[in-house]
Symmetry: C2
Subunit: 153 residues, 2 copies
């Protein structure tokens, strides 16, 4: 009777398409950031510090969907580049606070412009309202599944 078990195709999974597009967008973005000597994770890290003066590594790890270990090393790199500084916390000697240094702060608008350009490049193929819909759907998944994350790949 030739009973072939039904095996779903790769293309039938939204996760597959999501991964394909996301990897591409991130790789494209990474390439643009390369000229600025910054990675995607570093951009996200700096953009977060730009808004919130006082951020702890743990909070950042949570917000970026990365482990504390990864944040620790990421911070090392940014400190080495003189874009970020670590400040000891007075209240709690274990804790620290991360902050942008002036050079880092000055860099953020430039990187933001690259992010804008990257988004235009990849999502410009969609109509305005399609972009709105995509945005809505992605946010819905994030909120319904309660994830706080952005990683980098």
């Amino acid at each position: 009777m030739d009973e072939t078990p039904p095996v779903s195709s790769l293309e039938s999974h939204l996760g597959y398409w999501l991964r394909a597009v996301s990897n591409n967008v991130s790789q494209g973005f990474a390439r643009k950031l390369e000229d600025e000597g910054v990675t995607v994770a570093e951009w996200v890290f700096m953009r977060m510090l730009f808004d919130f003066e006082t951020v702890s590594p743990s909070e950042l790890a949570e917000a970026m969907g990365m482990t504390r270990g990864a944040i620790s090393k990421l911070a090392d790199r940014l400190v080495a580049k003189d874009l970020v500084e670590r400040r000891a916390s007075l209240a709690d000697k274990r804790a620290q606070t991360l902050a942008l240094k002036p050079a880092g702060r000055a860099r953020v608008p430039v990187l933001a412009a690259l992010a804008d350009g990257n988004d235009r490049e990849f999502f410009g193929v969609l109509e305005e309202e399609e972009r709105g819909e995509l945005d809505r759907l992605l946010r819905k998944i994030v909120s319904k599944r309660g994830l706080a994350a952005v990683t980098t790949d």
Copy 2:
């Protein structure tokens, strides 16, 4: 005058949300596959071999959006697990052909079921027609931007 330069937020970029969701979906999937001792890349690799009997590493690299070097190592791992085999190509002594071994072939339906479950878990929060729309939008980006992602039709 206080001319603050406008710095776009992380959340204003579709790439940001895409990355957030995609990473989450993939991490969730990776965790499910872990019990089977397989990675996401290995699943994709095997699923492709499942359909097309004869695939060269280069084609696979193209289809999976990875470098040939990465495919070479990925193949090494799968060969080591006895799921895949390399066959020399008769016509061209440089070339080779990758094929699933019986153990690998037997594994695919199980992994496909996990992929189905993962998709349900993450995208089940959307309505049926929202999923259709998301699918459409992602495919549109892939086709308009000519991403390598699998010759689909």
